[in-house]
């Protein structure tokens, strides 16, 4: 049942298939499985969309998820939240599904591998300047790095890198630690207690997906809205808030 042995700290080390230099490990397989599930599910559900009063229950489910994600994004990014919606929504759904499917025996969350989470964090790392430059223009965006004064430039740059590292390690550490805790509990108290921890794992997976998406949104919003906030402040003479 347990594919990842207790002394392997990531599913990258579980090699399912090897042919020459092509190595297929468990992370790859399950990442593609989650991606396939998401794409196939969305295609199947969106094939018969209706605007009537009667909707299919799958369309209802999808609308509930998407409208909640959208309203969360709009609360953080006060204006034009819809331009961030595809990126943040995709991140959230992918992490959510790869975390929640862990109740299937034999499945290993691809997010419990450091390679997957670093890839996700790197997309956020590149999305921040991308969204910032399209919203503010390149000059205004680069000015943000020198915002209080020039001394703060290295700290801004360090902050960019350290928060990317933190995003990756946070998701990986939570999922991996949970997997290890369950594996240890299976050895100690095999029958009942691991199930309770597994149920707790669903909550942890949901919260981590939420946090990853929210933090990505906060980073992007802080890069692309700093100037507007300043104008707002000058207009209203509000006290400075960090």
């Amino acid at each position: 049942m347990e594919i990842v042995a207790i002394n392997q700290i990531s599913p990258d080390q579980v090699i399912l298939f090897q042919w020459g230099w092509i190595v297929i490990n468990a992370t790859l397989v399950y990442t593609w499985a989650v991606m396939g599930l998401l794409v196939a599910g969305s295609i199947l559900i969106t094939r018969g969309l209706t605007q009537d009063r009667t909707l299919s229950r799958w369309q209802n489910l999808l609308e509930v998820i998407l409208s909640n994600v959208r309203s969360e994004i709009r609360e953080i990014a006060k204006d034009g939240g819809d331009s961030y919606f595809p990126f943040i929504g995709t991140l959230f759904l992918f992490i959510l599904f790869s975390n929640l499917l862990t109740f299937i025996p034999g499945y290993v969350a691809p997010t419990s591998a450091l390679s997957t989470t670093s890839a996700l964090a790197v997309t956020v790392f590149f999305a921040v300047p991308l969204f910032g430059i399209t919203k503010l223009g390149i000059i205004e965006y680069l000015k943000e790095y020198f915002r209080p004064n020039v001394i703060f430039f290295p700290f801004h740059v360090m902050g960019e890198f350290s928060r990317t590292l933190a995003l990756a390690v946070r998701l990986f550490g939570n999922l991996m630690s949970h997997e290890k805790v369950i594996a240890i509990l299976l050895a100690v108290t095999p029958l009942f207690f691991p199930i309770v921890m597994q149920a707790l794992g669903l909550l942890i997976g949901l919260i981590q997906a939420y946090i990853f998406a929210i933090l990505a949104m906060v980073y992007i919003a802080s890069a692309s809205q700093a100037h507007e906030e300043k104008e707002h402040k000058e207009k209203k003479h509000e006290p400075d808030r960090a």
Binding site: Q8, E75, G173, N174, S177
Partner: protein, 92 residues
């Protein structure tokens, strides 16, 4: 004592110490955060949604410090680079 058992002993003791000391700070921080969030919710129940969201994000930020310690101790116990280096050197 040869270098092999030296490395093993150092990594295991360090892993335990890393977890033990590293979880003190985040535990205190999370306690403070939950305490103030609960008293704010008790004062203003209408703001519960935004308070809860901020609380969860903040808790995740605090918790990540403990998670770093956990990752470090996991690496020390299960995927120790010095251990594999010493074993390879002793074997070959």
């Amino acid at each position: 004592m040869d270098s092999l058992s030296m490395v093993a002993m150092a990594s295991i003791i360090t892993a335990g110490l890393c977890m033990a000391i590293g979880s003190i700070g985040p535990a205190l921080g999370q306690g403070r955060a939950v305490h103030s969030a609960l008293s704010s919710i008790a004062q203003q129940p209408d703001e519960r949604n935004s308070l809860t969201r901020t609380l969860f994000v903040g808790l995740a930020m605090i918790e990540s410090i403990a998670i770093y310690c956990f990752v470090i101790s996991m690496i020390l116990v299960f995927a120790n680079p010095f251990w594999t280096y010493i074993v390879k050197k002793a074997g070959g």
